[in-house]
């Protein structure tokens, strides 16, 4: 008997310590967790996203986003919200077919609808979320940092997207798109999610700070004036075409003009 009391007291203390720790954890968690939406709101958004997904995406990707491997349709269970935001708000998805490369078209969804689908897909697994502005919008970069962005762009991007982001050809009818009109957010999302044949450039390889430099370089290089008509910014092929048409073509016309004129005394 005499031994039970202390035991009981100990039990009571343990329960108290456990409860206090849990309470403290809950307070700490509530302080740190991004609680922009209540749980109920999130659930509601995911439900709305699930409905939109079932209507617009499930015919190819499956009701649970499991994809259709034999048709080349990817599973969406671990792509994250960023992939959905990129694909849908650039108008690439919903794609008209599963054969050809999805190309940017007009996005007919509202921002809320895109966010709902993104939230639903994000709830299916892990993956990069939709970035905040301070993750991709360059500001306060020095000239050296922007120039470094150029080096990063030429090292990692220009092999497919061309030296100033005019785009380029990939095998089997696929193209690397022109980046001159692409928004900084979509550059970030494309790098993190690797749409189509593009590889994923994870934050371990190219941190957000470097993405900002690349975005800043692209903006500046396309904002600067070119030295005359830039002939499409496609390199020597269009230059050669113009040398023949505008150069030789015009000079031959002049030669004809000169030799049709006789000599006047």
């Amino acid at each position: 008997m005499s031994e039970r009391k202390p035991l009981r007291r100990r039990r009571g203390t343990r329960a108290f310590v456990l409860a206090a720790t849990l309470g403290l954890l809950a307070v700490v968690y509530a302080g740190f967790a991004p609680a922009t939406r209540s749980l109920a709101e999130n659930t509601e958004q995911i439900t709305q996203g699930k409905d939109l997904f079932a209507t617009n995406c499930a015919s190819c990707h499956g009701l649970g986003g499991e994809g259709l491997a034999e048709e080349g349709v990817p599973a969406l269970t671990n792509v994250g919200a960023a992939a959905v935001e990129f694909q849908v708000s650039t108008g690439r998805m919903p794609a008209p077919n599963t054969v050809s490369q999805p190309v940017p078209r007009e996005n007919t969804f509202t921002a809320d609808e895109v966010a709902a689908m993104a939230a639903y897909v994000a709830s299916l697994g892990t993956g990069p979320g939709i970035p905040n502005e301070d993750q991709y919008l360059p500001s306060g970069l020095t000239a050296e940092e922007i120039a470094e962005g150029g080096e990063l762009f030429r090292t990692n991007c220009s092999a497919c997207h061309n030296f100033k982001g005019s785009g380029g050809a990939l095998p089997n009818g696929v193209t690397a798109p022109n980046l001159q009109e692409t928004s900084p957010q979509h550059v970030w999302e494309a790098m993190r999610t690797g749409p189509g044949q593009m590889p994923v450039f994870a934050s371990g390889a190219i941190p957000d700070a470097d993405v900002k430099k690349i975005v800043a370089y692209l903006e500046q290089v396309n904002a600067q004036p070119s030295a005359g008509f830039n002939l499409g910014g496609l390199g020597p092929v269009s230059e050669g075409l113009w040398a023949w048409i505008a150069g030789i073509g015009v000079l031959v016309l002049f030669a004809i003009w000169i030799t049709t004129k006789g000599a006047r005394a």
Partner: protein
Amino acid sequence: MAKPTKIREDSPALAVQTPPEAPPAVNKLAPAAEWVDQRSGIGKVIKGALRKIFPDHWSFLLGEIALYSFIILLLTGVFLTLWFKPSMGEVEYSGSYELMRNIPMSEAFASTLNISFDVRGGLLMRQIHHWAAMLFVAAMTIHMLRVFFTGAFRKPRELNWIIGVGLLSIGLIEGFAGYSLPDDLLSGTGLRFVDGSIRSIPIIGTWVEFFVFGGEFPGELIIPRLYMVHILLVPGLLLGLISAHMALLVYHKHTQWPGPGRTQKNVVGYPLFPVYAAKAGGFFFIVFGVTTLMGALMQINPVWLYGPYNPSQVTAGSQPDWYMGFVEGAIRIMPNWEWHLGSTTWSWNIFIPFVGLMGLLFTGLALYPFIEAWVTGDKSEHHLLDRPRNAPNRTAFGVACMTCYGMFWAAGGNDIIATQFHVSLNDVTYFMRVAVFVAPVIAFIVTKRICLSLQRRDAETVLHGSPTGVIVRSPDGGYTEAHTPVSQGEAYTLTRHPQWTPVESGGRVRQRLSRWFAHGQIAKPTAEDIEAASHHAHPISPVDAAADETASIGSGKDAE
């Protein structure tokens, strides 16, 4: 057609080969000129040169475009050498182009940026220089095509043709060296391309690579070496060959289109002074003006966008300038044939399209005059040009070669074709693999049919005159177009060309080739044909012609 340019009958500028004795010159410079002449005898030379006759035709000015572009290249090139530093030493950029700030690069690239952004007029000069280089090779090419299709390479001009082929081939080397000098990403990629091509040469490839680059690619020697090639060696060779080319032109005299009064022994046209000096001199300023406008209005080779060369980088749309495009294309569409014998690699996938194709092109060009002379057995001199239609097999062969070149050329831009026309890169490549062989055959057949049709039309014109566009209705309701007879001069021009006759001697191969070359030509009207046709021709009144025809049938005059 190549009608001779009209020269006014009263024009004192008409060629007079033996000018009347000039009255003693009353000129302030006369004593000085006389002093020089008495000591150098130069007066006679100048007098001959000033009265040198050149025939007038637009296609004869194509070579002049090349010559004038070369002069523009020398002028702008000298300007660029004042600031360009041919060094691969590494520096950090500190010039005024912000987007390259502190980027490590070679001195060559840094000085190219300096010329573009910090030297007054530097960017304009760079762009004029580059456009002039494109025009230089392009003008040489169309000049060569003109000479080919008019048969101007025939005896006695075979040597000058070979000099021209030499000019074109080292013009390519000159252009490529210049393209490589700025040491930007594109030029470095081009150098890497050539590096790989050199390595593909069996047995000695690696050794030659190390010799050219002074060790492993890229090393530190290639830019200074190419600089020497670009501003000294090749321009020197070009200057020498151009001088020889023009000396032979003066010696042979210029070819001319056939026509009344134009023979193998004379040249009809304007004298150098004053007419041709004004025309050609004026044309120089036009060429300079057009090139300057291009340099001012059209961006070319924006090196600041490509960035400094870095072997770990490459950009989509990496292509050479247009004149190396056919080699680029051949390598792009070549199947991946490679041997591995023991420890050696035999890269036919690179060697055949690079060394093989260029060798084939320039060897074929150099030998063509001799091959054609062997096939036709033609040993005579030619100062009158062939109209392309009158040498249908040569013309068709030339167009077939152009088509083949064009297919290789287009293949060099297969990625641009794919993106601009929204087709698959693979499809373009597979199409071109077939097209380089099939398209020339189609081009040959089509061109030959066109040539023969034009020959038929010429014969028709000689026999029945030119159509007037006047449609006449006969009393019995038929419609005919009235024809007007051509002048004797025009008839002469249309019938002057010799008919091809196959050789009877030589081996079987030669005889068969010769028969093939002469095959299919339309027999030109004989004097009897023209006589007979003129008997029928009553251009003003087709009714009479119809009556006449009835009469002749009735009398059985034409029955054979």
